[in-house]
Amino acid sequence: MLGWTKGLAYTLKQLTRDKVTYDYPNEPIPLPDRFRGIQKFYPEKCIVCNQCVNICPTDCINLTGKKHPDPTKKGKIIDTYDINFELCILCDLCTEVCPTEAIIMTNNFELAEYSRDNLFKNLEWLDENDENIRKVNKP
């Protein structure tokens, strides 16, 4: 008959418990090192092997390379590198296949923009995204 009083007793007991919420956005949310946020790109490490482009399940990465400016050195260096964050699902596969760890996940996740065009991030933007970078990238 008085089942609801039992429920009320439980609710009242919870009043003394610690707060579990965060004052976001005034305070940052603590995130684990492995958290998959927006990628950081190191142009100097990239060897233009195209593996990230091939593994991307949504085809959101575009890159072009150019010849090494130093004629004594072989291979290519990166020219342009774009990620379209309208498509990117932050699945972590690009960082998993990268042999030189030129692309690494960070803990930054705030991607909201006023225009869809702004979600198109280029090499410079991804290079400057250098806060909260994942420390251990490969298991």
């Binding site: 429920g7 492995r34 399940p57 699945c91």
Partner: protein, 366 residues
């Protein structure tokens, strides 16, 4: 002169109680439902068709987005199917990590169901308690895989990450904590008269009907069928754990509530045993080629997901992409019984019956 006529009532697709984009077209006579017609497909993304142009590793993030409330089991069914075709032996440690992740995810999924199901009746506080405890599981899984819902954690041959330092201990601490909280949940809801009045003896189906409609998971077990693939057709390492299959004979909404609550307890038992047996060292990935190619042929595997039996059928012609991929998505099959259950019911019972079926629209639409 009084003239009565049937009325057409549209529920959804943006109605909060449909838990997604699900539409119901009801023909009502006063407050009694004469006919109910579910309309689905608003969230259809063509996962199975897309998969035909993707490598097996690339399909894993897509499976996360089917049943996004328990993505680990979806991850597992795909890699399990590919591993069955390739005949890969999975390292011990990876198997334990998989089972821990899947069972934690099952508990999280049932907690979310518990909170939102009671929210549908108008009780707001249980939702907050359920989400508070579910959040702890999501944090654990976030530490493990790097995401809160779309984990993309399993790989063909093992798992992506090893358990971080201290993670197993945190899981071990969580089990008694949730057991304690479950007592509170029962105190809060299970004995409440309003709740009992709204769930008891409504939405009843028999054992035979449940099998005819190919229901699975808690929906099947609430009608008294003792069938759980973890016991009856053990996959992974489930044969090493001691747990029970929770069943009820009533087949009503309340029975489905008790089955799910009981399953949380059983999952906690599995987690506890997996933590105790967890190997101290070992590999997390089997030796598999870098580019995975399933041999020519076909395979079908099924596992016990949070909502029922998830199946995965792969037909391969030996390339790195599947020739055809098909998922048996339990929510889709469980939903088929809804028009039958709603016929002749009062409109006030609609939300309780729909809620108890526990659908996730990402999975229904595929």
């Amino acid at each position: 002169m009084i003239r009565t006529e049937e009325m057409l009532l549209n529920v959804g697709p943006q109605h909060p109680s449909t838990h997604g984009v699900f539409r119901l077209v009801l023909k009502i006579d006063g407050e009694i439902i004469v006919e109910a017609k579910p309309v689905i497909g608003y969230l259809h993304r063509g996962t199975e068709k897309l998969a035909e142009n993707l490598q097996y590793t690339q399909i894993i993030p897509y499976t996360d987005r089917m049943d996004y409330v328990s993505a680990m089991t979806n991850n597992y069914v795909l890699v399990h199917a590919v591993e069955t075709m390739m005949g890969v032996q999975i390292p011990e440690r990876a198997e334990y990590l998989r089972v821990l992740a899947m069972e934690l995810n099952r508990v999280a999924s049932h907690l979310l169901w518990w909170g939102t199901f009671i929210l549908d009746f108008g009780a707001t506080s249980p939702l907050l308690y359920a989400f508070r405890d579910r959040e702890m599981i999501l944090n654990l899984l976030n530490e493990l895989s790097g995401a809160r819902l779309t984990f993309n954690y399993m790989r063909v041959g093992g798992v992506k990450w090893d358990a971080p330092e201290g993670w197993i201990e945190k899981v071990a601490e969580f089990v008694p904590y949730l057991r304690e909280q479950l007592k509170g949940y029962h105190q809060l809801v299970s004995g409440n008269e309003i709740f009992l009045n709204r769930t008891k003896n409504i939405g009843i189906y028999t054992k035979e009907e449940a099998i005819q409609y190919s229901l699975s998971g808690p929906n099947l077990r609430s009608a008294g069928v003792k069938w759980d693939l973890r016991k009856d057709e053990p996959y992974s390492i489930y044969d090493r754990f001691d747990f029970n299959i929770v069943t009820r004979d009533e087949g009503d909404v309340l029975a489905r509530y008790h089955v799910r609550m009981g399953e949380i307890v059983e999952s906690l038992k599995i987690i506890e045993q997996a933590v105790q047996q967890f190997p101290k060292q070992g590999e997390i990935m089997a030796k598999v080629p870098k580019i995975i190619k399933a041999p020519k042929g076909e395979a079908f595997v099924r596992i016990e997901g949070s909502r029922g039996e998830i199946g995965c059928y792969i037909s391969s012609d030996g390339k790195k992409e599947p020739y055809r991929l098909k998922f048996r998505r339990p929510s889709f099959y469980n939903l088929q019984i809804l028009p039958k259950l709603l016929e002749g019911e009062s409109i006030s019972n609609l939300i309780a019956i729909l809620g108890a079926v526990d659908i996730v629209l990402g999975e229904v639409d595929g």
